[in-house]
Amino acid sequence: MRTGLSSPSVWALVFLVAVAGCGVGPSGVFDAGEAPTGVAPGTTLYFVDDNDELRPQFRRTERLGTVSDAVSLLLTGPGDSEVRTEIAPTSVTSVEVTTHPETIELRVPLDIDDVTPVGIDQIVCTARTSHVQNGGSERTRIRIRFVQFTPESEIRRTCPLYE
C-alpha cells in the first residue's frame, strides 16, 4: 500500500505534468493552405484574329501586374501584329477595378458604341485571366461599366474561351 500514490506531493506532480503537457510544443510540418500566386514574366491580352476569334497574346512585361494594368494595356491596342482589336482607340486608358466577392467591376473609359460584342469579350477575357493569374477564382464574373448609361453595364459576363 505504501508504494501507491501515497503523498500529496505525488498528486501535485501528476497535476503539474498534466497541466504542463497542455502547452504549445514543437510539431512536425503541417499543411496550411493554398500557396500564394501572382508571379509571371508578363501579362496575357486577348485580341481578335482573322477568323474573328479571340486569340491570347502574351506581353512580356516582366511582371504580371494587376487586372487594371492588363485591361489598360489591352486598350492601347495590339500594336504591330497579325491580330486586331474590336475596341475603339481611346486616349484615356486608365481602368478602375473594384473587386466584389463574386464579381469584378471594371469602369472603362468607353461607351457601348466603342466596342463590338467581341470587343467586350476581349475585355472580359483579359480581366478574367489577369484575375485568375493573380490567385483569384475562375468562377468570378466580370461586369463592365461604360461611361454612359446602358443596360449592358449591368450584365455579369464570363469569358467564352474558358466556359
Binding site: 501515497s6 497542455c22 502547452g23 514543437p26 503541417f30 516582366e62 485571366t129 485568375v132
Partner: protein, 479 residues
C-alpha cells in the same frame, strides 16, 4: 489498510471527496486545455499563415519574373521581419530568427505546392515557421512553382499565454471546487457521524448498566434501522434482566423466609434439648447417646440457620459495617481465646497493628478461617499478621495435604464440599462464603491457595483505612 489511509470516518470521507474532486478537476482541466488549447493554437496558426499568404499575394503582381535581388527584397519587406526569400541562388534575409527555419520545412516547401507550417520552441518560447512557395498560374488556372520560396518566423508566445491563462482558470476553478467538496464532505460526515455517535453513546450506557438507554431513530436510512434494532435489543435485554432479577430476589426472599420461620421452632427445640442435656445422667447408656446426638445436631442446625440468615442479610444488602479502631493482633488473640483455640494455633504477629474494622465481622472471619483449618487441615495451624503501608494481611496456614487444584476456585462457594463422600461435617458449609462477604464488605479480599510446604493457605487482606467509604453504608444488589 496502510497507515497513510486515515482511520476516522470523517477524514476518510474528506479524503474521498477530495480525491474525487482532484481527479474530476484534473480530467476537466486536461480536457479543456487539450481541446481548447489545440483549437486556440490551430486558429492562430491558420490566421498567421493566411496573413503571410495574403501579404505575399499582395505584392506578387509587382514582382518581376525571373526575380532579381530587388524583387526578392520587396517580397521580404511585404512579409515583415525574420523572413527569408529564396530564388535559385538568390537570397534575401532579414532578422536573426530566420535561422530557426528548419531543413524539414524547406524540404516540404520545395517539394510541395502549398503553404506549410511548423512549430518550434526556442529559448522557451514557441515560434511558428511558415513556408510558402510562390506559384505561377497560367491562363487556364494551372499552377506551377515559380521557384520563389518565402519563409518567415512568427511569435506564438501570445497563444502560449492564452493557453496558460486557460489552464490557470481551470486550475483555480478546480481549487474552488475542492474547497466546496471539502465543505460538502464535512456536512455529509456530520449527517452520518451524528447518529453514529449517538448510537455509540447509547451502547456505552447500555454496557455500563443503564438499561433504559435508547436512541431516537431519525430518518429511514440504514442507520435508523440499526438504531431501531439496537433499541429492540436493549428492550429484550432489559426484559430478561428484570425477569432474572425478580427470580433471584424471589429465591433470596425464600431462603430468608425459610430461615426466619425455622428460628422460632428451633428456639423451642433448643430449649427442649437444654432440658434434655441437663437430665442425661438419669438415662440408660444407649438413650444417653441418642440424646447427646440430638443435642449436637440441634446445635448444628441452629448454627446453620444463623449462617443462612447472615447470608440472606448479605444478599438483601441490609448488612451494616460498624467500624472502630482495633488492634488487629489483640483482636485475633481475643477470637482464639474466646473459642479456646490458643493452645492449638501458633500466632505469629508483631506487637500491635492498628486497623479500622468491624470487630464482630473480623471475629467471624478469623473464627471461620481458623475453624476451617483445624477441621480440614493438620496441625500445626499457624496464624500470621503482617502489615504493609496500605493493607493488613492475615495469613492462616495448616500442615495438611492442601487444596486440590479443582477445589481452589470453589472453596468460597456456598455449601461447597471438597470431598463429596464426607457429607457430615460440623460446619454449616457457609462459613468461608460468609468470611469472604465480610472481607469484601471492608473493601478487602480473601484468597485461598496452598503454601510452599503444601498446606492450605488462606490470606485475608484488609485495607488499613477503609474509611474512604462511610461507615454503615449498604452493600449488595440494588433493588
Amino acid at each position: 489498510m496502510g497507515r497513510w489511509w486515515p482511520r476516522g470516518l470523517r477524514p476518510r470521507l474528506l479524503a474521498g471527496f477530495a480525491l474525487v474532486t482532484v481527479l474530476g478537476s484534473l480530467a476537466a482541466t486536461w480536457a479543456i486545455t487539450e481541446s481548447a488549447g489545440e483549437a486556440l493554437v490551430a486558429s492562430n496558426q491558420r490566421r498567421i499563415s493566411e496573413t503571410v499568404s495574403g501579404q505575399i499575394g499582395a505584392v506578387t503582381h509587382e514582382v518581376s519574373h525571373p526575380p532579381d535581388q530587388a524583387a526578392l527584397d520587396r517580397v521580404r519587406d511585404s512579409v515583415g521581419p525574420d523572413t527569408l526569400v529564396v530564388f535559385e541562388d538568390l537570397r534575401s534575409v532579414d532578422g536573426a530568427r530566420a535561422d530557426l527555419i528548419t531543413d524539414e520545412l524547406r524540404e516540404a516547401v520545395r517539394e510541395g505546392d502549398r503553404v506549410v507550417t511548423q512549430r518550434v520552441v526556442d529559448v522557451d518560447r514557441p515560434w511558428l515557421l511558415v513556408g510558402a512557395p510562390v506559384m505561377i498560374t497560367d491562363p487556364d488556372g494551372e499552377r506551377a512553382p515559380s521557384g520563389i520560396e518565402v519563409y518567415t518566423v512568427r511569435d506564438l508566445s501570445a497563444v502560449q499565454e492564452e493557453v496558460d491563462a486557460l489552464v490557470r482558470a481551470a486550475a483555480a476553478a478546480g481549487a474552488a471546487v475542492l474547497v466546496l467538496a471539502a465543505l460538502l464532505a464535512l456536512v455529509t460526515a456530520r449527517g452520518v457521524l451524528r447518529p453514529v455517535r449517538e448510537l455509540r453513546d447509547t451502547a456505552r450506557r447500555l454496557a455500563a448498566g443503564d438499561l433504559d438507554a435508547r436512541t431516537e431513530p431519525q430518518g429511514v436510512d440504514e442507520l435508523a434501522e440499526l438504531t431501531v434494532t439496537i433499541n429492540e435489543m436493549a428492550e429484550s435485554v432489559q426484559g430478561s434482566m428484570a425477569t432474572m432479577e425478580r427470580m433471584r430476589a424471589d429465591a433470596r426472599r425464600f431462603a430468608a423466609d425459610v430461615s426466619h420461620e425455622l428460628r422460632t421452632p428451633l428456639s423451642t427445640l433448643t430449649a427442649v434439648t437444654e432440658v434434655l442435656a441437663a437430665s442425661t445422667e438419669d438415662m440408660a447408656q444407649d438413650a444417653r447417646e441418642s440424646a447427646g446426638m440430638a443435642i449436637t445436631e440441634t446445635r448444628r442446625l441452629v448454627r446453620m440457620v444463623e449462617d443462612l440468615m447472615e447470608v440472606s442479610r448479605f444478599d438483601a444488602g441490609s448488612v451494616r459495617l460498624r467500624e472502630e479502631e482495633v488492634d488487629m493482633v489483640s483482636a485475633v488473640r481475643d477470637t482464639l481465646r474466646a473459642r479456646n483455640r490458643l493452645d492449638r494455633v501458633e500466632l505469629h504477629a508483631p506487637q500491635e497493628v492498628p486497623v479500622r474494622v468491624d470487630r464482630r465481622r473480623l471475629d467471624v472471619i478469623v473464627a471461620n478461617l481458623v475453624g476451617n483449618a483445624l477441621r480440614h487441615g493438620e496441625p500445626p495451624v499457624r496464624v500470621g499478621v503482617f502489615a504493609d503501608r496500605t493493607h493488613v494481611n492475615l495469613v492462616v496456614t495448616d500442615n495438611g495435604p492442601g487444596l486440590a487444584e479443582h477445589v481452589v476456585p470453589h472453596v468460597f462457594d456456598r455449601f461447597f464440599k471438597a470431598d463429596s463422600a464426607r457429607t457430615r461435617t460440623p460446619g454449616s458449609g457457609l462459613g468461608l462464603a460468609i468470611a469472604l462477604e465480610n472481607a469484601r464488605l471492608h473493601d478487602g479480599d480473601l484468597t485461598a491457595g496452598n503454601g510452599d510446604d503444601g498446606g492450605a493457605r488462606f490470606v485475608l487482606r484488609l485495607p488499613r483505612a477503609p474509611g474512604q467509604t462511610a461507615p454503615g453504608r449498604e452493600r449488595g444488589i440494588q433493588e
